[in-house]
C-alpha cells in the first residue's frame, strides 16, 4: 500500500467526458491491497468504463461482500453509493436495493471465496432471478486475506505457493451462471484492460443479470510456477473468443465491411455490441452451444475469454414481478394508499 495520497496533478491533456469529468474524477481512495494486485487493474478498468460511458458517479451503487475483492469498491468511484455487506450476502442486499430503487446502476463486486464458497447459493439465485446488475467476480483461486489457501475456483492439480497440489475439482462460475440463466456472461483477465473495459461497458448497458468472471492474479499467494491463475499462465492459455466493441445507442452505427466475421447484438437500451469473431465455432447467442464450447475448451486447459453469451431480448427481475416502474422513494402517500375505493376493488377481485 501507499502512504501518500495520489497527487492531484494530472496529465495536461487528460480528456474530459460529456459530463466534464476526467477519468481521475472517477477514482476512489488509494488502494490498500498488495502492490501489483490484479484487483487494482479491475478497479482501473471500472473507472475507465464508467468514464467512457459518461456515467454520473452518483448513479452507481457498488455492493460487495467480504474478501480482498470486496474491499475494492473503496478504490473506485468515490462519489457513488456503496454497501459492504456480510460474507457471501452481497447478492441479497443488491437484490433488495434494486427492488427499492430501479433507477441506479448496480454493480456487485465479489471474489471467488465470496461467491463460489460461502455465497454460492446467493450467487446462483441472484443470477437465476435476473436481477438487473453487473456481477463481477475477481477470481484469483486463493483466499488472499487468509494467506493463500485454495479457493473453490482453484483448478485441480494447481500448485499452492508451498508446492501442494489441489485435489478438488474447480467450480466454474461462468458455467454456473449460464446454467442459472444469466443473460450476459463474460470472462476476462485483469491484465487485459482493453477487453475488460469493453465488457464492463456492455454489461452496464445490459438489462438483466450480467456476470463477469475476471481472472485476477494474486501476486502475494498465487503468481508462481504451477499456479493456473498466475499472470504468465493466464497469458499463455488465454483464448479470446471475440473482440468486443461497445457502441452506445446514441452513436451512429457504421455498417460492417465483412459481415461474415462480425456479429452485432443490439441491446435493450439501443446500445450495440459489435463482436469480431476470433473463434470459428463460437456463437454468443446460443446458450447450449456456448456451454458446450466452454466445456470443450476447459478440457483442453484453455481459458476462454471475451463476451461468451448474450441474450439481446433479456428481461430482468422487475419485469418478471411486474412491480412499479418508479423507485420506491419517489412514491407519494397517494400512490401508496390509493383509498378505500381501490381497496374495495382489490378485495372484490379476491372474492
Amino acid at each position: 500500500m501507499t502512504w501518500i495520497t495520489k497527487p492531484k496533478l494530472h496529465h495536461p491533456k487528460l480528456p474530459a467526458n460529456a459530463l466534464g469529468f476526467t477519468r481521475r474524477d472517477y477514482e476512489g481512495s488509494v488502494s490498500t491491497l498488495c502492490a501489483g494486485c490484479g484487483h487494482d487493474s479491475i478497479s482501473a478498468a471500472i473507472i475507465q468504463a464508467c468514464f467512457e460511458i459518461d456515467l454520473p458517479p452518483h448513479r452507481l451503487a457498488k455492493l460487495s461482500g467480504i474478501g480482498c475483492s470486496s474491499k475494492t469498491p473503496t478504490y473506485f468511484l468515490g462519489q457513488s453509493h456503496g454497501f459492504n455487506s456480510v460474507h457471501g450476502r452481497m447478492p441479497s442486499v443488491l437484490t433488495g436495493a434494486n427492488l427499492a430503487n430501479r433507477d441506479l446502476v448496480y454493480m456487485g463486486i465479489s471474489g471467488d471465496g465470496d461467491s463460489a464458497s460461502i455465497g454460492l447459493g446467493q450467487f446462483a439465485h441472484c443470477i437465476r432471478r435476473g436481477v438487473n446488475m453487473v456481477y463481477i467476480v475477481e477470481n484469483n483461486g486463493v483466499y488472499g486475506l487468509t494467506k493463500g489457501q485454495f479457493s473453490a475456483t482453484a483448478d485441480k492439480g494447481s500448485k499452492s505457493k508451498k508446492g501442494a497440489g489441489n485435489p478438488d475439482s474447480p467450480m466454474d462460475l461462468v458455467s454456473l451462471a449460464l446454467i442459472a440463466g444469466a443473460s450476459f456472461v463474460g470472462r476476462s483477465f485483469s491484465g487485459d484492460k482493453k477487453q475488460l473495459v469493453e465488457l464492463i461497458k456492455a454489461a452496464i448497458a445490459h438489462k438483466g443479470a450480467a456476470f463477469l468472471d475476471v481472472l485476477s492474479p494474486c501476486v502475494a499467494f498465487n503468481n508462481h510456477v504451477g499456479s493456473t491463475k498466475s499472470f504468465d499462465y493466464v497469458r499463455e492459455h488465454n483464448e479470446a473468443v471475440n473482440a468486443l466493441e461497445f457502441i452506445e445507442g446514441k452513436e451512429e452505427i457504421i455498417l460492417d465491411h465483412d459481415p461474415g466475421t462480425t456479429v452485432n447484438v443490439t441491446q435493450h437500451d439501443g446500445s450495440v455490441l459489435r463482436l469480431k469473431k476470433l473463434a470459428e465455432d463460437h456463437d454468443p447467442t446460443d446458450r447450449a452451444s456456448v456451454m458446450n464450447f466452454i466445456q470443450r475448451h476447459n478440457a483442453r486447459g484453455e481459458i476462454v475469454t471475451g463476451l461468451l453469451y448474450v441474450e439481446a431480448d433479456s428481461e430482468d427481475l422487475q419485469d418478471r414481478l411486474g412491480v412499479t416502474k418508479r423507485p420506491l422513494n419517489s412514491l407519494s402517500d397517494a400512490d401508496l394508499c390509493p383509498g378505500s375505493t381501490a381497496l374495495e376493488k382489490i378485495n372484490a377481485g379476491l372474492r
Binding site: 500500500m1 501507499t2 502512504w3 501518500i4 495520497t5 495520489k6 497527487p7 492531484k8 496533478l9 494530472h10 496529465h11 495536461p12 491533456k13 487528460l14 481521475r24 488509494v30 488502494s31 498488495c34 502492490a35 501489483g36 494486485c37 490484479g38 487494482d40 487493474s41 478497479s43 482501473a44 483448478d155 485441480k156 492439480g157 494447481s158 500448485k159 483477465f189 485483469s190 491484465g191 487485459d192 484492460k193 482493453k194 477487453q195 492474479p217 501476486v219 502475494a220 503468481n223 510456477v225 504451477g226 493456473t228 499472470f231 504468465d232 499462465y233 497469458r235 499463455e236 492459455h237 488465454n238 479470446a240 473482440a243 486447459g301
Partner: protein
C-alpha cells in the same frame, strides 16, 4: 494445469494481454534506453539541464526544505559561484524549463529559493576550498573583473596559480556592479561574494587599470591570459537630432554605470527609455528613483517580442511605467539645443513570403512624445580596440575573436575568452559557465595537457529506498501554486535607489515553495527482468506516463502511449523486451517523480534512484587526477 510452464520462463509469450495494437514487437523498434549515459538522466532534470552552469537544483531545494541553508548555499556556490547575486538577478533559464510548469500553471520559483539559501546561511568560511600552501609557478592575467573572470579566479586560485586581475573600474564585479541597480542587488551582497573569491590564494587585483594594449600585457610574460571584458559598448541611435540634443540623450549601460558609481543622481521629470531588453527595464526603474515622474518605455517591436524577461517587464509596469509598442524612433526633437521629445513611426508586424517577421509602416500619422531625457537601451556590443590584430588572435567578419566553443581558447593558444567577450552579450549565469570551462582549459594548457580532452562530470545514481514504502526524499508534493515574493512598500522603494524592492521569501514561505519541487533528479529506474507486467504502475501513475506496448519506431511509439507524448524535447524511456515481447515505455515529459509506480510495484522492478551530476571544474578535475 497446463503443460509447458517451465518453457514459459524462457520464451516470450504472444501478446494476448494487450491486443490493442497491431504493431509487431520486432524490427525497427526503439532500442532500450541507455541509462548508463549520464546525459539521459541529466536531461530529465530539466532545471539542471537548462542551467548553463548545471546547478543541481532539486538537490539544493531539498536542503532548503530541510533548513540546511548553508549546505544549500554551498551546492550553489560550487556550481554558480554567485548564489546571492544570482538569487536576485539570474535570467533563470531553469524556470521556463521546470517540469512543474508543464503539469501546473507556473514553475517552481527556483531563483528566489536560491536567495533563501543565501539570506539564511551561516558563516561559510570553513567550507570554502583551502588556500593553496604554495604557488604552482604559473601566472595568469585576467582582463575585466566581471563574473567570467571571477569564476576563473575561483576555480584556479586553490591550485596555486598566481592570478592578476585587471579592471578599469575601481572595484570588482564588472556589469554586476556597474549595470544592475542597487534596488535589485544590494552592494553588500556583491562585496561578500566577490570577497569569497579574492581571498582564496595568490590573487593580485589591479583595479582602476584599463588595459589598452594586449601586446603590452603579453610582454609581461603571463603563462595564460583570460579575456573577460564583457560587451561594454552600448549601441547608439543615429537618427536626426541625436547630435543637437546630445546633452539629454544617454546610452543606457553607461548611464546605469554612472548612477551606480554615483556620478549621476538625477534625471528629468519626463523620461523615455528606448529599447525592450532588461537594460531598458533597469533604466526606466532607475529613472523613477532619480526624479523621473512620467517614465515610459517605447519599443519597436511588439510587447510579446521584447527581450526583457517577463518578470522584469512586470516589475517595471508595477512601478507605474507604461510600455508602448510598435513604435520606431524617427527623430529627436529639440529647441534651443535642448531635447523636447521623440517622433515615432507607427508600425505593424507582418510576415513576408519566407515567413520572416517584418515591421512595416502602418500608414498612421507619426506620433510625438514629449520628454526631458532619453535613455537609449537598444543593445550592447563587443569592442576590442585594445587587441592589436597582429598578436595571434584571429577575428571573424563581425570583428569578434575566433573562440573555440568548448575550450574557450582563441587562435593564440595562451589567450582564452569567456563571458560576453567570447560570443556576445548573454548574462551572468552564462558567464559563470564560460568561466568554469575556460578555467579547465587554462589549467590544462598550463600543465601541458590537451585542452580538447574535457573532464567527465561526476555522477552518482543511488536508490532512495528506506523501507517498503519509505523514501529518503519527500515524495508528497504540495498542490500549492507559485508563491509571490513580498515587495517593499512602493512609496519607500521609489524614494531610495538603494532600498531593495524584493524582500525575498522568509523561511516559511521558502519552505512552502520548496514543496512544489517535483524532485526530478529522483529517477524512475526500471529493471526489465523483475517486471511481471501486472499493470500496477500503469494504473497508479497520476499522469499516465507509463505504457506497456509492442515496440515501434519513435514517431509511431509516441502515438501508441496511454497519453499523447507530443513534447518531442522530452525523451521516451524504453525497456528491453519483456516476457510478452512488449516493452515498457515511459514518457519523461510530465512525470511527477512521486514514486507511486515504485510503491505499487510488487517486484521492485521500479526503483527511485537519485541522480546527482556535478560538472568537473578545474579544481575538482585537478584533484581527481592527482
Amino acid at each position: 494445469m497446463g503443460a509447458g510452464t517451465e518453457a514459459l520462463e524462457q520464451r516470450p509469450v504472444p501478446d494476448k494481454g494487450n491486443r490493442s495494437a497491431g504493431h509487431s514487437g520486432n524490427g525497427a523498434g526503439m532500442p532500450p534506453t541507455d541509462i548508463g549515459n549520464p546525459q539521459y538522466f541529466h536531461k530529465v532534470v530539466d532545471c539542471q539541464w537548462a542551467c548553463p552552469a548545471h546547478t543541481p537544483v532539486p538537490e539544493y531545494i531539498r536542503l532548503i526544505a530541510a533548513g540546511r541553508y548553508t549546505d544549500a548555499y554551498m551546492v550553489n556556490w560550487k556550481s554558480n559561484v554567485f548564489p546571492g547575486i544570482l538569487g536576485r538577478t539570474c535570467d533563470r533559464p531553469c524556470e521556463p524549463a521546470c517540469r512543474r510548469g508543464r503539469v501546473e500553471k507556473e514553475p517552481v520559483a527556483i531563483c528566489r529559493l536560491k536567495r533563501v539559501a543565501a539570506d539564511n546561511k551561516e558563516d561559510i568560511g570553513d567550507l570554502l576550498p583551502p588556500r593553496p600552501a604554495k604557488k604552482n609557478g604559473k601566472r595568469v592575467a585576467l582582463i575585466g573583473a566581471g563574473p567570467a573572470s571571477l569564476t576563473v579566479v575561483r576555480d584556479l586560485a586553490p591550485l596555486g596559480y598566481e592570478l592578476v586581475l585587471f579592471d578599469a573600474d575601481r572595484r570588482g564585479g564588472g556589469m554586476i556592479r556597474s549595470q544592475i541597480p542597487r534596488f535589485r542587488l544590494p552592494e553588500e551582497v556583491i562585496d561578500e561574494e566577490i570577497d569569497y573569491i579574492l581571498d582564496r590564494g595568490f590573487i593580485e587585483t589591479r583595479f582602476g587599470t584599463r588595459i589598452d594594449s594586449m601586446k603590452q600585457l603579453l610582454s609581461e610574460k603571463f603563462d595564460a591570459v583570460f579575456v573577460g571584458s564583457g560587451a561594454p559598448r552600448g549601441r547608439d541611435l543615429d537618427i536626426p537630432g541625436r547630435k543637437e540634443a546630445a546633452k539629454n540623450i544617454h546610452i543606457g549601460i553607461d548611464w546605469l554605470s554612472n548612477v551606480s558609481f554615483e556620478h549621476i543622481d538625477k534625471i528629468g521629470k519626463r523620461v523615455i527609455v528606448l529599447g525592450g531588453g532588461n537594460t531598458a527595464m533597469d533604466c526606466c526603474r532607475t529613472s523613477r528613483r532619480l526624479g523621473g515622474e512620467d517614465v515610459k518605455v517605447i519599443v519597436r517591436s511588439g510587447f510579446e517580442e521584447m527581450k526583457a524577461s517577463p518578470w522584469e517587464k512586470e516589475d517595471a509596469m508595477h512601478e507605474g511605467i507604461p510600455i508602448h509598442n510598435f513604435l520606431v524612433p524617427k527623430e529627436f526633437t529639440h529647441k534651443n539645443g535642448k531635447l523636447t521629445g521623440v517622433i515615432f513611426e507607427k508600425v505593424v508586424a507582418k510576415k513576408d513570403e519566407k515567413g520572416r517577421r517584418q515591421l512595416l509602416p502602418s500608414g498612421e500619422p507619426d506620433q510625438h512624445f514629449e520628454c526631458d531625457d532619453v535613455l537609449v537601451a537598444v543593445g550592447q556590443e563587443n569592442s576590442f580596440p585594445w587587441i592589436e590584430r597582429d598578436c595571434g588572435i584571429e577575428f571573424d567578419k563581425w570583428n569578434m575573436p575566433k573562440v573555440n566553443e568548448v575550450t574557450f581558447q582563441s587562435t593564440n593558444p595562451k589567450i582564452f575568452f569567456g563571458g560576453d567577450a567570447a560570443f556576445g552579450p548573454k548574462n551572468i549565469i552564462w558567464a559563470v559557465a564560460h568561466g568554469h570551462d575556460a578555467a579547465v582549459s587554462i589549467d590544462k594548457f598550463c600543465s601541458g595537457e590537451d585542452v580538447s580532452k574535457r573532464p567527465p562530470p561526476l555522477t552518482n545514481l543511488m536508490s532512495q529506498k528506506m523501507g517498503i514504502h519509505e523514501w529518503s526524499y519527500d515524495n508528497d508534493i504540495s498542490n500549492a501554486i507559485r508563491h509571490k515574493v513580498p515587495l517593499r512598500d512602493q512609496k519607500i522603494a521609489l524614494k531610495d535607489i538603494r532600498a531593495e524592492v524584493e524582500l525575498g521569501f522568509d523561511q516559511s514561505l521558502g519552505y512552502a515553495e520548496t514543496q512544489r519541487c517535483l524532485n526530478c533528479d529522483v529517477q524512475t529506474v526500471f529493471t526489465t527482468s523483475l517486471c511481471i507486467e501486472c499493470d500496477a504502475c500503469v494504473d497508479i501513475c497520476p499522469v499516465d506516463c507509463i505504457t506497456f506496448t509492442p515496440n515501434a519506431a519513435e514517431p509511431d511509439l509516441r502515438l501508441m502511449l496511454n497519453a499523447p507524448a507530443d513534447n518531442l524535447t522530452q525523451d521516451l524511456y524504453v525497456s528491453s523486451p519483456l516476457k510478452t515481447a512488449r516493452v515498457l515505455v515511459k514518457d519523461e515529459d510530465v512525470c511527477l517523480h512521486c514514486g507511486l509506480c515504485a510503491e505499487r510495484c510488487p517486484t521492485g522492478a521500479w526503483d527511485m534512484q537519485k541522480f546527482l551530476l556535478e560538472i568537473s571544474h578545474a579544481t575538482e578535475a585537478r584533484c581527481s587526477r592527482a
